[in-house]
């Protein structure tokens, strides 16, 4: 004998445990996976904080990805508490042992005055452009919105900056700043893939802007056609959330380090030499800074002669993309960065080696003492270096009070 809707609902009610919005609100963080089974258009109007969205029509296909453990607690909700009952039956058929449905659904939740989130509304074009990000739970619409609001600064639009800027632009990082005072040279094109043959002689920041906006017009490219020096470093880096460092002198490396630590901005650092690259992420106070790693640069006569060394074009490409990966994790707040680890890449052997880096408790820039001194407006003196090597003059204080 065919069943009516009322029969099915009665069966579901007798079979599925129901919980109130108050019960769900009282769950400890991570106490259960809360799944919203409404349609996309309903989800976009607002949802429970921390809920996962799986439309009822996709429950069978997507639940194992969202909740691999069939004994893990799961709470389902919909708009009024009916669809979630039926979806919960489906989960029980799939072997889930601890499933509940929230009675009254999202309407009851809101009526109870409980907090809810309104998801960021991406345009339909953005939803399509970033669809592969939206499918990853660790990114999703919220992560994508975070990226669109993020600001990344590139020191140099060269071999490292080119691939990193292209991928961050493609990923939808909303603002990309570029500091570079150079013009495109034919010899750059072996690796600096932001630039093109017809732009030889053009300012690199302009060439970079054209390439980035051709890839993704969502990105606001801010060009800084100047050399990073002590007088402008604070102004240049202010407001950025992450810095991708492709500097090529010790002087700028230390300037950038000191200013970024004072402002608490992570710096993703890489350098390349022939077939080798090295990479780390300096996250102020979480891992070491560049001065912890190398308190002083070599004197000029011992500084390895980089100007005459070539580089296999793909090496800065690989290292630049690893920089982009680090930057995305910093911006999204996911995964483990290379803070406290130095990654070495050998292109000839195709090997990666990891070295452990530590904070120097006596660091003049990032130690507890240095932080306190900056807070009191009397930063510790740090040695200043120029021209690729140590100066013999008196150290002076960079940047003044933080």
């Amino acid at each position: 004998m065919p069943k009516t809707y009322a029969d099915l609902l009665r069966e579901a009610r007798s079979q599925i445990r129901e919980v109130t919005p108050g019960d769900v609100d009282a769950l400890p963080a991570g106490g259960a996976t809360v799944i919203d089974v409404r349609e996309d258009s309903e989800w976009e109007q607002g949802h429970l904080p921390g809920a996962v969205h799986i439309s009822k029509s996709y429950v069978e296909q997507q639940i194992e990805g969202a909740v691999p453990d069939r004994d893990a607690p799961v709470v389902l909700y919909c708009a009024g508490g009916v669809r979630s009952l039926f979806a919960a039956q489906t989960l029980e058929q799939l072997g889930y042992t601890n499933v509940a449905s929230m009675s009254g659904g999202f309407q009851a939740w809101k009526s109870a005055g409980l907090p809810w989130d309104k998801p960021v509304n991406l345009t339909s074009e953005q939803k399509q452009r970033y669809s592969r990000h939206l499918l990853i739970p660790e990114v999703g619409a919220e992560g994508q919105a975070k990226l669109l609001q993020s600001k990344a600064l590139f020191i140099g639009a060269g071999g490292l900056g080119s691939p990193a800027a292209l991928y961050l632009a493609a990923a939808g990082v909303g603002t990309i700043g570029i500091v570079d005072f150079d013009v495109v040279d034919l010899s750059n094109l072996q690796r600096q893939i932001l630039h093109t043959n017809d732009r030889v002689g053009e300012r690199k920041v302009e060439s970079a802007r054209k390439t980035i906006n051709a890839l993704n017009p969502d990105v606001n490219v801010v060009t800084h056609e100047e050399m990073l020096v002590a007088d402008n470093v604070d102004r240049l880096i202010t407001g950025y959330h992450v810095i991708i460092d492709g500097t090529d002198t010790f002087e700028t490396r230390y300037l950038l380090n000191d200013a970024a630590v004072a402002k608490g901005i992570p710096v993703v650092h890489a350098s390349v030499f022939r077939f080798e690259g090295q990479l780390t992420t300096f996250i102020p106070f979480e891992g070491p800074c560049y001065r912890c790693l190398y308190p002083t640069p070599p004197p000029p006569e011992l500084a390895p002669g980089c100007s005459v060394a070539g580089v296999l074009g793909v090496v800065p490409g690989i290292m630049g993309m690893l920089q982009a990966n680090e930057a995305l994790k910093v911006l999204l707040g996911i995964g483990d960065t290379l803070a406290g680890r130095l990654l070495l890449f050998d292109a000839l052997d195709s090997t990666f080696t990891e070295l452990r880096l530590r904070r120097d408790p006596t660091c003049p820039v990032c130690s507890t003492e240095a932080i306190a001194a900056r807070a009191e407006g009397r930063p510790l003196a740090v040695p200043v270096f120029a021209g690729g090597g140590a100066t013999t003059g008196e150290p002076f204080v960079l940047g003044g009070p933080a």
Partner: protein
């Protein structure tokens, strides 16, 4: 014998070798053996009073010896010693 990994920038000073096998029970002994074999490395690695230059880091099996026992850090058979000088080059601007 332990293996000392030589970064590209220092290879011209060790006859182009990527790694060198040397004896020595401590970092000091390994560095001494290295600088005896390749005297031009001495100024790169050591100060005049014989301590490690601050612009060169030495790692034993991935750990910075500054946070182990410095030059006195023991080096066992088949340990990997890696020299890593500070390098300027990010982009390697030509000329």
């Amino acid at each position: 014998m332990s293996v000392v990994k030589i970064p590209t920038v220092l290879r011209p000073q060790v006859g182009g070798n990527k790694e060198v096998e040397l004896g020595g029970a401590t970092v000091a002994e390994v560095v001494e053996a290295l600088t005896v074999a390749y005297p031009s490395l001495r100024a790169q690695l050591l100060t005049e009073d014989g301590s490690l230059n601050r612009f060169v880091n030495v790692y034993v099996n991935g750990q910075d010896v500054r946070y182990l026992d410095g030059l006195a850090t023991s080096v066992a058979e088949r340990d990997e010693v890696r020299l890593l000088p500070a390098m300027a080059g990010g982009e390697l601007r030509e000329g």
